[in-house]
């Protein structure tokens, strides 16, 4: 075990020195657009390494990452909202103890749709809510969208890309179309929703942002914002 601990530390240390090297390299060749893609990916992998130190009781057993917008079921087991939503869509039982998941847990989750703090964040990604307004994408989906978006900007000159790609949310494939700025579940192409990308981080409650990934902002917080 001592060995594996050391090797973990080693990896972490390496990634830090890599980070510095990468910064140097970045300042030297900012014009090279290819490097920007590399940079985005490196940024993401740095995030991943940092998050690895997640205490067991904060870890989602499904994605094995820190629980995002955690939802605790009546049986007492906690998962990310989007993770357990994916399970509900398929098996309708808790992934750990197989107790039935009551519908209301998924359909009307408690208000934990607050945006997570994130350093250095520059853009917001939203999708249209069914009944008006916008939902912000969940953090991990948003990061993936941004990477795709930036790589598309870079590759645009070659014009090989049609601006469409597939992301998996709750285990379901969604087609995202940057040319039309829409998304739809791959098996339901006629139910598309608009999406939008905005620079800067809008205040919560602005522009009818209702929450994150279908989870409303807690009512009390919304009042504060107003």
């Amino acid at each position: 075990m001592a060995d594996s601990e050391n090797s973990k530390k080693g990896q972490y240390g390496d990634s830090k020195s890599l980070e510095e090297k990468e910064k140097k390299r970045k300042s030297e060749s900012l014009d090279k657009e290819g490097d920007r893609v590399v940079q985005v990916e490196k940024d993401l992998s740095k995030l991943k390494i940092k998050e690895d130190i997640v205490p067991f009781d904060m870890k989602c057993p499904i994605c094995q990452d820190k629980s995002r917008h955690p939802l605790t079921l009546p049986c007492g087991h906690t998962f990310c909202y989007l993770c357990i939503k994916g399970v509900y869509a398929r098996q309708k039982v808790c992934a750990l103890c197989r107790q039935a998941i009551p519908q209301h847990c998924i359909v009307s989750p408690p208000g934990t749709g607050e945006r997570e703090e994130e350093e250095g964040r520059k853009t917001c990604w939203y999708y249209e809510a069914k009944s008006g307004g916008w939902w912000e994408y969940e953090e991990r989906v948003r990061q993936e969208l941004e990477i795709h978006y930036q790589s598309l900007q870079i590759n645009n000159e070659d014009n090989q890309d049609d601006g469409q790609f597939v992301i998996y949310v709750s285990g379901f494939p969604y087609v995202v179309d940057f040319a039309k700025m829409i998304q739809y579940r791959q098996d339901k192409p006629n139910r598309s929703r608009r999406i939008k990308r905005e620079k800067g981080v809008a205040e919560e409650g602005e522009e009818l942002v209702r929450g994150v990934a279908g989870i409303p902002i807690a009512p009390s917080i919304r009042q504060d914002d107003n």
Binding site: S4, F56, Q64, C83, R90, Q91, A95, F165, I167
Partner: protein, 168 residues
């Protein structure tokens, strides 16, 4: 471009750095969702001394959908058909996204010792998750889980001999 989900990266990393006793799983060089697996025949089973090749594939829906696993080595076993397909409930309707590649492979290894068990993982996903995580932190070994499987193996051993004789 999308890359592998973090969970798959972490599982792969741990399979390589902290392998399960008697199980070797290596990702394919071309396709990181495809694993070449070698399972050693469990001790005190008719398969002791043998090595069995399997293929394991993680579909895009993984972990919401189970991995697809198949024996490549021909094997005579009541729960494995001629094409190497495995009859194991956690690979079908009893799949839980809290199970992992390593727990699935442990389960298959246990199946070699004890055909047709009520798979312990199907009933105790929560324990497997806890055990798996805590052992990873404390000792980096699966010894407890492994002993548990050996124990269940022994329980089913007598029954297995009968079944196995009938089958062949």
């Amino acid at each position: 471009m999308a890359g592998l989900p973090k969970r798959i990266l972490k599982e792969t990393q741990r399979l390589l750095t902290d392998p399960v006793q008697g199980i070797n799983a290596t990702p394919d060089e071309q396709n990181a969702r495809y694993f070449h697996v070698v399972v050693a025949g469990p001790k005190d089973s008719p398969f002791e001394g043998g090595t069995f090749k399997l293929e394991l594939f993680l579909p895009e829906e993984y972990p919401m959908a189970p991995p697809k696993v198949r024996f490549m080595t021909k094997i005579y076993h009541p729960n494995i058909d001629k094409l190497g397909r495995i009859c194991l409930d956690i690979l079908k309707d009893k799949w839980s996204p809290a199970l992992q590649i390593r727990t699935v492979l442990l389960s298959i290894q246990a199946l070699l010792s004890a055909p047709n068990p009520d798979d312990p993982l199907a009933n105790d996903v929560a324990d497997a998750w806890k055990t798996n995580e805590h052992l990873a932190i404390q000792t980096g070994e699966e010894s407890f889980l492994y002993m548990y499987f050996i124990f269940t193996s022994l329980l089913y051993f007598t029954r297995f001999c009968l079944l196995f004789n009938n089958f062949s």
